[in-house]
């Protein structure tokens, strides 16, 4: 469903993604880990063209992401994205945050979009916040709204970039629970996160990145128990012993 073929990306002279080969299948949950600055966010952001690749080939559903003929807005409506800092629209209510894209992009009527939005708010556990503004919500609630906003477009893929890193510890669980439920329903997910519990429970595959390369990948149980690469071992010992 998502396919990287010898993909390289540079920021100026800085080689941020090095010869990435990666295939992610429908329904798969892939967790990306690695040290800060290793290129995890960039990898994720290339998939919906928030960043453009320098060479190689990247396809989503066999559509070339960077081809001029590809309608990028058409592609993006099919790929949800959840950010570390939520990026909810502060001037819009929770309901409006969720319905904006369905109304503008999918041309849903306001009533229809609001019905869908409420059902997803129910799903992420905060139906009573429909008319609140983002600033009135806790971080955990904001992130759950952001997930509902992504879901309302009925995407086939959702990308998560450190969705719990900006949250207070007591709110991490509520967001992970929503993500786990999604994973179990068969959503295709690419998740940058260091939450090992999440990875062990629902990930099909762990990808370890370092300095722009995919150094190692494997099933969570194998990878966490016995990482092959020295740098993966070092990294794991560091996130485990902090």
């Amino acid at each position: 469903m998502i396919r990287f073929d010898s993909v390289n990306k540079y920021f100026g002279n800085f080689h941020v993604l090095k010869n990435i080969n990666l295939e992610i299948n429908k329904g798969e949950v892939v967790v990306v880990i690695g040290p800060s600055g290793s290129g995890k966010s960039t990898l994720l952001r290339c998939i919906n063209r928030l960043e453009t690749i320098t060479d190689g080939e990247l396809t989503v559903n066999d559509l070339k992401v960077n081809d001029k003929k590809t309608d990028i807005n058409q592609l993006r409506r099919n790929i949800g994205m959840v950010f570390q800092h939520f990026h909810l629209y502060p001037h819009k209510t929770v309901l409006e945050n969720i319905t904006t894209a369905p109304i503008k992009v999918l041309k849903q009527s306001k009533e229809e979009a609001e019905k869908v939005a409420r059902s997803y708010l129910e799903k992420v556990g905060i139906p009573e916040k429909a008319n609140s503004y983002p600033a009135q919500l806790s971080g955990g609630q904001q992130q759950r709204v952001a997930i509902a906003r992504g879901l309302a477009m009925k995407p086939e893929i959702i990308l998560f970039d450190e969705p719990t890193s900006a949250l207070d510890p007591e709110m991490i669980g509520e967001v992970l629970d929503v993500m786990k439920a999604l994973a179990k329903e068969g959503m295709t997910m690419v998740v940058v996160t260091h939450e090992m519990g999440f990875a062990r429970e629902v990930a099909d595959r762990i990808i370890f990145m370092d300095q722009g390369q995919i150094l190692e990948q494997g099933k969570p149980a194998d990878f966490y128990a016995n990482p092959k690469e020295e740098r993966a071992r070092l990294f794991l010992s560091r996130i485990l012993n902090h």
Binding site: N48, L50, N73, Q74, R76, R77, I79, G80, M81, F83, H85, H87, L88, Y89, P90, H91, T100, A101, K104, V105, A146, R149, G150, M153
Partner: protein, 217 residues
């Protein structure tokens, strides 16, 4: 004491000037706003040549004295066969000059909206224009209104430039009264008062909006 007979005896003249100053201000205000928005969009649109044109406009225009721009339109253009009435030349100069400051204020406001807002909206499939209209501009407007209000106040005051090219405005008729009556000091005091009639309400309005916008955040 101030000799009010100067004002009363020349009230028609003053009012004629006042009327033209108001007219020039309103036209230039609308014009500068429209040009300002266009130039601001050119500066931030993801199209390099447009960025250059927008930047060039701002950097050139705001670093030239308004008087020079006004003289260009009034005395300069006839050289290439375009003769404009002083009022028109002055008003155009005023709009073009103020637009460069308004464009800057709008650009700064738009760019103060966090980058994540654009990314969140675009990644949900909204086009660049849809994102601008529904997500970015409504947030930028709050930041942009106070500086634009201040530019409008400047515009009203700067409209006195019309007096330099016989533009029939308040300043021009003030000069006229002064040369007719051989009185200077009170004549210009009254001119100043007419300007204050325009600028003080504007200034109060900007202050009010600023406080309201501050509270709504």
């Amino acid at each position: 004491m101030l000799d009010f007979s100067i004002l009363l005896n020349n009230l028609d003249t003053y009012l004629e000037g006042f009327k033209n100053t108001v007219l020039a201000s309103i036209i230039a205000l609308l014009g500068s706003f429209i040009i300002g928005v266009i130039v601001a969009v050119m500066r931030i649109a993801p199209i390099k040549p447009l960025n250059w044109i927008g930047s060039a406009y701002v950097e050139f225009i705001r670093n030239i004295p308004l008087l020079v721009i006004a003289f260009f339109f009034y005395y300069g253009l006839p050289a290439i066969g375009v003769t404009l009435p002083a009022f028109v030349a002055g008003t155009i100069a005023l709009a073009i000059y103020t637009a460069s400051f308004i464009a800057e204020a709008i650009r700064a406001g738009i760019q103060s909206v966090p980058k994540g807002q654009m990314e969140a909206a675009r990644s949900s499939g909204l086009t660049y224009l849809q994102t601008m209209r529904t997500i970015i501009l409504p947030q930028a407007i709050k930041i942009v209104i106070p500086p634009i209000g201040n530019q409008f106040i400047n515009l009203v005051k700067n409209s006195a430039i019309l007096g330099m090219i016989a533009g029939l405005d308040l300043m021009y008729f003030g000069d006229l009264v002064s040369s007719r009556t051989f009185v200077t000091f009170p004549v210009y005091i009254f001119v100043a008062m007419f300007y204050l009639v325009l600028t003080i309400p504007l200034s109060l309005g900007v202050g009010y909006l600023e406080r309201r916008l501050a509270r709504s955040n």
